[in-house]
């Protein structure tokens, strides 16, 4: 609808538009500097004054949609965080963030996110290293890249099911480990490898970390592989010619270049773990105390009396995420400088 407004727009007008440098048109008055083209001047000026507004009309549907279904709900959360039940301004909800249960939820969420992003980051980096510089065969590289693409998208409920079927109480790996038994001293069967006898529990934080790793390290592989590919052979050869060892090359050349990229990718992993809800919900049935789970309970109206406290919870998450993504963007840009082909 909005984009039909230039129907019948004369073709020559577009040509003019193309010939005249847009910055010149907006900056100095281009047409006035050419008094001989009087006709053109008037038509072009007319077109210009209306086109500044017309130019934005094509974006009206998009902005209307985004305003209604993205900006408005977000603003509502934001303003709700600073309102009491009657709609008056208050900072009490923000104080709620210092409640011990809320702090605990944030602590658990941060812990899970930091652990999975660090381990996932390191593991993912090593895998990316293996398939780029590590001389592994091509078929292995394509398998790993494809599966990274698959696994990075494989979050949510099915992921929880897969881990329950593998490492749950009756899961595939658990069953194998359980079945490794020998006859003990007093004639009883001893099965020393049952993970559930050693404090392991899939339906706890450890289980959640293992499950998150399934999408975390592939995400790292996907984000860091281009950066590793961007490392030029010349740099390595140059440093070797200058007598550098492999360690020195990595410490003094490769890592300083890759560092922003690695850090940025880790930020991305952190964000994706911090905002995750479905896997935790399906795996632990909501018994693990994450911020996302807490917000979920808040929506269902189970826990907190005051919905505005839920807004404050949500606002806290958005602040953490905004910091994370901003850092990611800045860091990605820094590496892009080096990796231009």
């Amino acid at each position: 609808m909005g984009f039909s407004c230039w129907t019948g727009y004369p073709t020559f007008a577009i040509r003019i538009h193309k010939e005249i440098n847009p910055t010149e048109v907006h900056g100095s008055d281009y047409s006035r500097a050419m008094p001989s083209h009087l006709n053109m001047k008037s038509s072009s000026r007319q077109r210009r004054s209306s086109s500044a507004i017309l130019d934005w009309i094509g974006l009206v549907p998009f902005f209307a949609f985004v305003l209604a279904f993205l900006i408005l709900p977000s603003l509502n959360l934001f303003s709700g965080a600073f309102k009491d039940a009657r709609g008056n301004f208050t900072l009490a909800n923000i104080n709620f963030l210092t409640d011990q249960y809320v702090l605990k939820a944030y602590a658990v969420s941060l812990e899970v996110s930091v652990i999975t992003s660090l381990f996932g980051g390191v593991f993912g980096f090593l895998v990316a290293y293996a398939i780029t510089i590590g001389n592994t065969p091509r078929w292995m590289r394509s398998i790993l890249m494809t599966f990274s693409g698959l696994a990075a998208n494989f979050g949510g409920v099915p992921l929880a099911f897969a881990f329950i079927a593998t490492l749950g109480r009756t899961g595939f790996i658990t069953a194998i480990l359980k079945s490794i038994c020998y006859a003990g001293a007093s004639g009883t069967q001893v099965c020393p490898f049952n993970p559930y006898d050693h404090g392991f529990n899939l339906y706890s934080m450890y289980g959640l970390v293992l499950a998150y790793m399934y999408f975390q390290f592939p995400l790292m592989v996907l984000t860091i592989t281009p950066a590793l590919e961007g490392l030029k052979k010349d740099w390595r050869e140059a440093s070797e010619n200058l007598g550098a060892t492999s360690f020195q090359y990595w410490r003094d050349v490769a890592f300083p270049i890759l560092w922003p990229s690695i850090l940025g990718a880790t930020m991305l992993l952190f964000g994706s773990a911090f905002g995750a809800f479905a896997t935790a919900q399906a795996l632990t049935g909501g018994s693990i105390y994450l911020v996302t789970i807490l917000i979920g309970q808040q929506i269902r109206g189970d826990v907190l009396g005051n919905p505005n406290e839920g807004y404050a919870l949500a606002l806290g998450m958005v602040v953490v995420m905004a910091i994370t993504i901003t850092a990611y963007t800045i860091l990605q840009r820094q590496t892009a400088r080096w990796l231009k082909v």
Partner: protein, 265 residues
């Protein structure tokens, strides 16, 4: 000698990664085939596929997916086309907006959506139909980053201005330009955006769960709570669907540089 050592080091991590990928997958497959005691059988799959609730929720999610894809394409192709043709300076703004769903966790977004539209003046949660409008809008927002990127990449690859001028000088009106010239040229970008968008809707839990609509995600959680073997079968089915979607994207974007990168949620 050094080369050999490096090689082993690489192999070690590559194999570790393979194991991490395949063990849970194999475990799930194995588990899903053991519903009948002592025999390998497809009973769990048969049970799932025969469950009318599964069929209903799958149909619901698939239809919502198609509607979402259609509306999303109809919003984004003209918008991005317009940006490339008339308003390049708006691209950064639009790009930042489309990344917002990455910054706002889904659960937080849904919270805001429900609070905004569960009461006047814009109540959309009273009837199933209105809730479906709301949920579609939510799906479009959640898949926005992928859709924008896919179409943006596609639009960059074609010469929008020349195509438009050529079509105009042949007497096309704006709808003809859009639907007869721009859409066909973007078909691969649109297709890959559509597939990711569809996969997002099929796998989505939070919107369907909290808006209480009979989508596939909430159904899976329900099965996960009450059954033992069926969830594994569902996970395998879900794997396969994601696999098909990604395979199709790979297949259609061969040669192009439309490397898609997503986050796990």
């Amino acid at each position: 000698m050094k080369g050999k050592r490096l090689n082993l080091w690489g192999w070690f991590w590559a194999i570790a990664a393979m194991l991490y990928f395949f063990i849970p997958m194999y475990g799930t497959l194995d588990f899903s085939l053991r519903m009948k005691k002592g025999v390998i059988s497809l009973l769990a799959y048969e049970t799932v596929l025969a469950d009318p609730q599964f069929l209903a929720s799958f149909r619901y999610s698939a239809i919502m997916g198609l509607i979402t894809v259609t509306i999303s394409v109809l919003i984004f192709v003209p918008t991005i086309y317009w940006i490339y043709l008339r308003l390049p300076k708006a691209r950064p703004i639009v790009e930042i907006i489309t990344i917002l769903p990455f910054i706002i966790p889904v659960i937080v977004y849904v919270f805001g959506l429900i609070r905004t539209f569960s009461g006047p003046p814009f109540q959309l949660t009273l009837t199933p139909f209105k809730t479906d409008i709301l949920i579609t809008a939510g799906y479009i927002v959640l898949s926005m980053p992928y859709m924008f990127r896919a179409i943006d990449v596609g639009m960059r690859a074609i010469d929008v201005r020349t195509l438009t001028e050529a079509a105009q000088s042949l007497g096309s009106n704006s709808f003809q330009i859009l639907f007869d010239v721009i859409f066909p040229n973007l078909r691969i970008a649109i297709l890959s955006g559509a597939l990711i968008c569809f996969a997002t809707v099929i796998g989505e839990l939070i919107l369907g769960d909290f808006l209480v609509r009979p989508a596939l995600g909430p159904y899976m959680v329900l099965v996960g709570r009450s059954r033992a073997y069926e969830p594994a079968a569902l996970a395998i089915i879900s794997y396969t669907l994601t696999w098909i979607c990604l395979g199709l994207i790979q297949f259609f974007s061969r040669g192009g540089s439309t490397q898609q990168q997503l986050t796990g949620r």
